[in-house]
Every structure is written in C-alpha cells, then in structure tokens.
C-alpha cells in the first residue's frame, strides 16, 4: 500500500511538471514582458539591458526552472489587468466557484443515488423510464442554454429571481466572502446551481443505473438471494457498496467536467468566480492570469484524482497489486 501511494504521488508530481512546462510555454509564446513593463519611449539598448536583467535571454530550461521555483513559493507572476499577483486574484475568486461547486455536488449526490438505484431496480416501471428519458434530454441540453432559459423565465419574465452576480455577501473569515448566510445571497445562488445540476445530474443517474444493473446480475447477488437475505439488505448493503466504487472513480474524473461547466455557468450569470475571471483574462490577453488558472485548476485535478485513486486502492486491493495500471 505504501509503495502504491508513493507511485501515485510520483505520478502526480510528474503530471504537475508537465502542466508547468505547458503553462510556461504558453507564457513564453504569448506576450512580451518587456513590452508590458516599458513604454514606447524606452530605447532598444535599454530594453535589451532590461531583458538581460530579467533573465529573459537565458535558455528555456533555465527560465522554466525559475518559473517552477516561483510557483512553489506561490508566485505565478502578476496579472497586468488587476495589478496584483495572479495567485492572489485567483484566491479571491475561488470561494465563489467553490460555493457553486459545493451546492451542485450536494444536489447531485442527494438526487442521483436514489434515482439511479430506483431506475436500476424497477427498470421497466414508468417512473424509471421517465427518469432515463429525462436524463438523455438533460445531457442533450447545453448548460448555457439551460441557464439562458432559466434567466428568461425567472428573471426577465416572472422577475422572481436575480439573474446575475452573487448578491449580499458576508465575510465568514478573511478572504472568504460567502453568499450562504443571507437570503439574498441564496436567491442569487439558486439559478446557477440549478443550471449546473441540470447537466451533471443526468451523467450520474445514467452511471449509477448502469453500474447497479451490472452488479445485480453478478453471482454474489444471486447467492445472497439464495441465502434468503432480505431484498432491501441485498440491494442497499451488498449491491450498492460495489456500485459506489466505480462511481467514486468516475466522480473524480467528472470534477474536470464540473469545473469546465462552471466556466460556462459563471459566464452566463456573471458570477464573480474563477471561471468568469478566466474568460475575461482570455479576452484581455492577460497571460499570467491564464497560466495561473491553468496551474491552479491542474493542481486541484491532480490532487483530487490522486486522493480518489489512493482511496480506491485502499478499498479495492486488486488495483494496488496490479502494477499500478
């Protein structure tokens, strides 16, 4: 088990190094730091001197090492639009995205498990067919379209709910302004959460149903029936336990999809999170901020996926003895 954790951690470090190379290459190829610092009146000689002083004439590997060293100290360069360190900008936007992700994940977990199990057990019932039909329609509607529809119905037409921003915020501790504690903040949270859930929920319902259906056909479930165990015990204790394992792994992978969809949702609702910040950074060609977002999001993915893998290896010995494949 120890060797397995070490191997996974090394892999994670390697992936982060690759991300840093990509991020650094982007930084190198887009924009010129000297031009950003100096004005038009600075002479070519002075520019070259500055170039030397900043170490921009060093070879790619040397500059990349400097970039990694800075990144390890939490320095990913300055956002030229906000005139602040890029990491600081991202950390100030992270709570907004995190709150959206938390409420959505809660809703998805609370709804997808019962619906998925129900659809697997009673696959012929009308409710199950409705759920499966609904879920294929759900995956076919892009998240931004759901968001626009919700805005039109609830904000423009009925005027019940706000259509943009985060509303009243309360600072729960330094740097974290939360919308969870005011009615106004919760009202602002409602539409974005519903849109994001509308695209993530069908994915998980379909996944849980497929896994559960497969588990129900295995030998050990038949054996449990033959032993005369209560049906509810077979379903919720024996079968569900093994359904959950693949769902957790895919859940880790789906985090990437969720974060990508926050970019879309935040853009529609002008939600002050990392996603809309990233799109603005692209529009303004704010390379440092773009690269910082890449590294930050990459770090989240790698950490979450590694933790999920380790948990999975802990629960399922087959994985950790299989040569890490």
């Amino acid at each position: 088990m120890f060797a397995f954790i070490i191997r996974r951690t090394l892999q994670a470090v390697f992936v982060m190094l690759v991300i840093s190379v990509i991020g650094f290459a982007i930084k190198q190829s887009v924009g010129d730091p000297v031009r950003e610092i100096t004005g038009i009146s600075v002479s070519v000689a002075e520019r070259d001197a500055l170039r030397d002083k900043l170490g921009l004439n060093d070879s790619f590997p040397v500059q990349w090492l400097r970039f990694v060293k800075g990144a390890l100290h939490g320095d990913l360069g300055n956002s030229f639009k906000y005139k602040k360190p890029a990491v600081q900008v991202i950390l100030s936007k992270a709570p907004a995205t995190l709150e959206l992700v938390i409420t959505t994940s809660l809703l998805v977990v609370l709804l997808s498990i019962p619906i998925g199990i129900y659809a697997a057990i009673h696959s012929k019932s009308w409710w199950a067919r409705l759920a499966m039909g609904g879920s294929i329609i759900g995956v076919s509607i892009p998240v931004f379209l759901t968001a626009i529809l919700l805005i039109y119905v609830f904000a423009v037409w009925l005027q019940w709910l706000p259509s943009f921003g985060r509303g009243e915020l309360v600072e729960i501790f330094p740097g974290w302004k939360s919308g969870f504690f005011t009615w106004n903040g919760l009202a602002h949270l409602l539409l974005p959460t519903v849109s994001l859930t509308s695209i993530m929920l069908p994915l998980f319902i379909r996944l849980i149903r497929a896994e559960m259906t497969e588990t129900l056909q295995t030998e050990y479930v038949k054996y449990a029936r033959a032993r005369g165990l209560r049906e509810s015990r077979i379903l919720y204790v024996h079968a569900f336990k093994n359904t959950l394992l693949p769902v957790i792994t895919v859940g880790g992978v789906q985090l990437g999809t969720l974060i990508a969809f926050t970019i879309l949702t935040e853009t529609v609702f002008q939600w002050g999170g990392m996603g809309s910040m990233f799109i603005k950074a692209v529009e303004d060609a704010d390379t440092s901020l773009m690269v910082a977002y890449l590294v930050f999001v990459g770090l989240i993915f790698v950490v979450v996926n590694t933790v999920v893998d380790v948990i999975y290896g802990y629960v399922n010995p087959m994985i950790r003895t299989g040569g890490g494949k």
């Binding site: 992936v15 626009i148 423009v156 990508a260």
Partner: protein, 307 residues
C-alpha cells in the same frame, strides 16, 4: 444496387425498422441535415451576403407574435445584425455539423492509430500512451478544448483566429477528445490480439502493420461505431460551448453556439427568439444523435471499456 440489397437485408436494418424511437430520431436527423446542407436552396436570405442585410431590420420578432414591427419577410424574426433568423440558423447548423463531423474524423484517426499501436505492441509504449490518455481525460475534454482554443487565440490574435475558426475548432475539438477512441480501440485490440486468426496471420509471416490494420482493425469497428455517435453529439456540443464563451465561430460566420451567444446579449430586453430558435435546433440535433446512438449501443451491445 447490390449494396442497397445488402443493407436492407441486414439484421441491423431489420431491427431499425422495428424501433419507432430509432426511426423517429433518424428521420429528424435526416431532415435537419438536408435542411442545413441544402440551406442555399430552401432559404430566402443568404446571411453571408452583406448586401442583402439591412441593420434597420435588426431584432424583429417572429411574425406570429403579432407585434407591430413583425415583418412578413422574416418568419422567425431577425437577429441583432438584421439577418433572417431561419436562414441564419440553417447556415449555422451547417457550420456546427461540419465542425462536429470534422472533429470526429480527426479524433477517431488519432485515437484509432494510438489505441491500435498501444494495444498491439504493449509494454512501455502502451503504459505511456494510455497514461497520457488517462491524464488528458481527467482534465475533461471541455477543459482541454477551452484551454487550447484560449492559447490559440492568444498566439494568433483574435482577428486571425476568427478567420480560420472553422479549421482551428476542428483541430481543437479533435485533439481534445482522442483519448475516448484510443481507450476503446485499445480495449478491443487487447481482446482480439490473442485470437487464432491473428496468430495464424503471424505464423504466415505477415508484417505487423498489415496484421494491425487489415486483420485486427476491422474487428474493432463495432465499439468505434457506437462511440462515434456519442462523440459526434459531444463535438457539436463542445463547439457550441466554445462559441458561446467567445472562443469559437465569429458572429460573421455564425454557428448555432455563436447565434445563441448573440441572442443572450439581448435577452434582458425581451428578444427571446434570437437565442431560443438556435437553442431548440441545437438540442433537437444533439438529442436525435444521442437517441440514435443509444439504440445502436443497445442493438450492437459491444463490451465498452469502462471507468
């Protein structure tokens, strides 16, 4: 004629005719494809012809709303640039389908070659290629597509990017989604490569490349066909998402996604039709492809590589 007979006599076609859902979605899909690719024949306006567009016609509502400014020339109203909604939508759907199809061709090419080599050769090369696919997948295809197009836009600048948007989007989405194919193909190659016909081919002394591409590859086509439908829907969806956040098709060559985006800017003023109609077209297009894919998967029922 012989091919036609072969198709109509096949089990697949027999099963197809007995599934109303499959017939329904195939009909809808065919209708949409004919309408969009035949757009110049069916539409009264050409959204690419600047001379026929009048900015004074901008944002007119659909004719059945009975609004005072509804114009009988524009059945579904007009967009913010004064283009006929129906014509622009059909031309836009053509762009969306083209990008989707192009991206699927590209990603299947990359994915099949990588999956075939990884599955057949095995060893270190396989471990490296599949780890690469896993890592890229864990970032989700949307994320990868958004990043690559953001970088492209940064490198080329917005003007050049929108000039070559169609080709670049095919590249971006094609590159973002190859791991799906690579994993599927590798899984079937693993199952095929120890079968007797492959051994026989090896014993005869056929070159590796011939065994891989002529003997094994045709037997991995069933799962490839099944995921291709889902991938096509995904590619069209990715394109719409990229266009919506401004990293896709420019307003002058609209796709369904960029039409929805241009309508979103006017939603607060009550111009719902600019977003709604392309939105419906997009959903119906994706839904019909997904339903057809579901039917194909249930019918062919290949062992798809999971997790």
């Amino acid at each position: 004629m012989k091919l036609f007979k072969k198709i109509t006599a096949s089990n697949l076609f027999y099963n197809f005719l007995r599934d109303p859902m499959a017939i329904g979605s195939a009909t809808v899909l065919l209708f949409l494809l004919v309408a969009s690719f035949g757009a110049p024949l069916f539409t009264s306006h050409n959204p690419y012809d600047q001379t026929t567009i009048d900015i004074m016609d901008a944002e007119l509502p659909p004719i059945w709303t009975g609004a005072a400014d509804a114009d009988s020339r524009f059945l579904l109203g007009t967009d913010p640039q004064g283009r006929d909604m129906l014509s622009t939508m059909l031309y836009g759907m053509r762009v969306s389908v083209l990008i989707g199809a192009g991206a699927v061709v590209l990603q299947s090419l990359i994915g099949i070659i990588i999956g075939l080599i990884a599955g057949y050769k095995g060893g270190r090369l396989e471990a490296l290629l599949m780890r690469l696919a896993d890592v890229q997948l864990s970032f989700s295809t949307y994320m990868v597509a958004i990043f690559i197009s953001a970088v492209f836009q940064g490198i080329f600048g917005m003007g050049v990017y929108s000039d070559y948007a169609l080709g670049l989007l095919i590249l971006v989405i094609g590159f973002a989604e190859w791991p799906q194919y690579a994993r599927t193909v590798r899984a079937s190659v693993m199952a095929e490569k120890n079968k007797e016909y492959v051994e026989a081919a090896r014993v005869i002394g056929l070159p590796q490349r011939r065994i891989m591409f002529r003997h094994i590859l045709p037997n991995t086509m069933t799962p490839v066909l099944v995921i291709s439908t889902v991938q096509m829907a995904n590619a069209i969806m990715s394109e719409a998402a990229l266009s919506f956040i401004g990293l896709g098709m420019p307003p002058s060559q609209p796709s369904l996604g960029s039409l929805i985006k241009s309508g979103f800017d006017y939603i607060a003023s009550g111009s719902w039709w600019i977003s709604l109609f392309p939105g419906i077209a997009l959903v119906v297009l994706i839904l019909s492809i997904n339903l057809l894919g579901d039917w194909l998967r249930d019918y062919l029922n290949p062992k798809l590589y999971k997790d």
